[in-house]
């Protein structure tokens, strides 16, 4: 079944550690996105990708980096985690990029940096 997956679902990690949040989709979509969402707040786009080897920074400045080596895989990496990175991270994908296009969301990763 076509879906979008995120692992881990929950992560508690110490300051200074390097972490990678995984996102994979079997939807066959070219467009993928990473959002950051603090509790009770709006979703902020931090990275997006049009396709393989294409990545762009979003509207919210983030110390994270992403890569897109395979269509279905869009991992997000934090080289040195800090408490300010504590948040929920949502991965999404879409078939289209313009018009009334729908974004499909993964279940999210809740990150806590101690």
């Amino acid at each position: 079944e076509a879906d979008i997956y995120q692992t881990p679902r929950y992560l508690v990690i110490g300051t200074g550690k390097k972490i990678t949040l995984e996102c994979s989709q079997t939807m066959g979509h070219d467009k993928m996105y990473w959002y950051q969402q603090d509790p009770g707040m709006e979703l902020h786009l931090i990275h997006y990708s049009y396709g393989v080897n294409s990545t762009e920074k979003g509207d919210l400045s983030s110390e994270s980096t992403v890569s897109r080596i395979r269509t279905e895989h869009f991992p997000l990496t934090l080289e040195s985690a800090r408490p300010s990175h504590t948040s929920q991270y949502l991965c999404a994908s879409s078939e289209l990029w313009t018009g009334a296009y729908e974004q499909y969301f993964g279940p999210g990763t809740r990150l806590t940096v101690t």
């Binding site: 009770g40 707040m41 979703l43 313009t98 009334a100």
Partner: protein
Amino acid sequence: AQRVTQPEKLLSVFKGAPVELKCNYSYSGSPELFWYVQYSRQRLQLLLRHISRESIKGFTADLNKGETSFHLKKPFAQEEDSAMYYCALAPTSGTYKYIFGTGTRLKVLA
């Protein structure tokens, strides 16, 4: 600046009462507008988009360009409607990235 505003963080209504979740936007052109919903322990998903002019789970939303609003309405709320609702805008020129509102939590009381 492009912005989506949802003025209510929390809206509580009784079962069977009408519901209206407010959404106002700031955009110079004619954007695409959406409502997304997140039920407890489920992922964020599309509820409806204005271009479809459809009713999903009894919800409708009308785009009012004069008031730059896209309020979500349902005549009779059900307990299963309790969820987090996000209004979103997709520009139709330049960058096409979504802009989300802060969300409104709807609680339908028995």
